[in-house]
Amino acid sequence: MIVRLQTEDFDPEHEAQALGVKGAGARVSFVGTVRDMAADRTITALDIEHYPEMTKAEIMRIGAAALARCALLDVLIIHRHGHLAAGDRIVLVVTWAAHRKTAFRGCEEIVDALKTRAPFWKKEITDQGDIWVPGEIPAP
């Protein structure tokens, strides 16, 4: 399992290839990007704040849980922070498994967990001013 936090962009295919996972019949990738519109406002940029000492540890816990629960062969998670422009990639989650269902399940579980558990906070820079993106409340 690889977990990386960075300010720079990444190439999803290059990163996935670099892991050199063998024997997987299925690979599922999620790429999240900065949207340029939300409801009534135009978004020009996104400032992503995080809790450096906690972020990597929490993402490792999220990845390890999915790895075990979904019998994944490997997991790659790259998350950016800092100042991003509309259209920029924010996050990459790749899961490898013998079969498609577990690869899909693992990837979606990780993305869901990032939303509710990984300590990032996003401020949208919009034509209506700067707005904190409301976080998602974890299920009890």
Binding site: A57, R117, V133
Partner: protein
């Protein structure tokens, strides 16, 4: 010492990102730490308010010990 960290809207409202508190018998739980650092501005903080202790998710009722790092922040938005 107990280290207090604040993020995002919590940081903006309280006006700092890190503070140190001397351990005391009145600081038993994360909620006691919050009261000590927020004072009356506690009413302005976003709800729900999340807590982490030593970089793991915790609750306002979680116990706090000397040497702990206690963080307060709004619901997160990764991914």
């Amino acid at each position: 010492m107990i280290t207090v960290r604040c993020f995002a809207a919590v940081r903006e409202i309280l006006g700092y990102d890190t503070r140190k508190l001397a351990p005391s018998d009145t600081l038993q739980r994360a909620s006691d730490v919050l009261n000590a650092v927020a004072g009356p501005r506690i009413a302005d903080l976003p709800r729900p308010l999340l807590v982490a202790i030593n970089c793991e998710h915790a609750a306002l009722t979680s116990p706090v010990h000397d040497g702990d790092e206690v963080a307060f922040f709004p619901p997160v938005s990764g991914g």
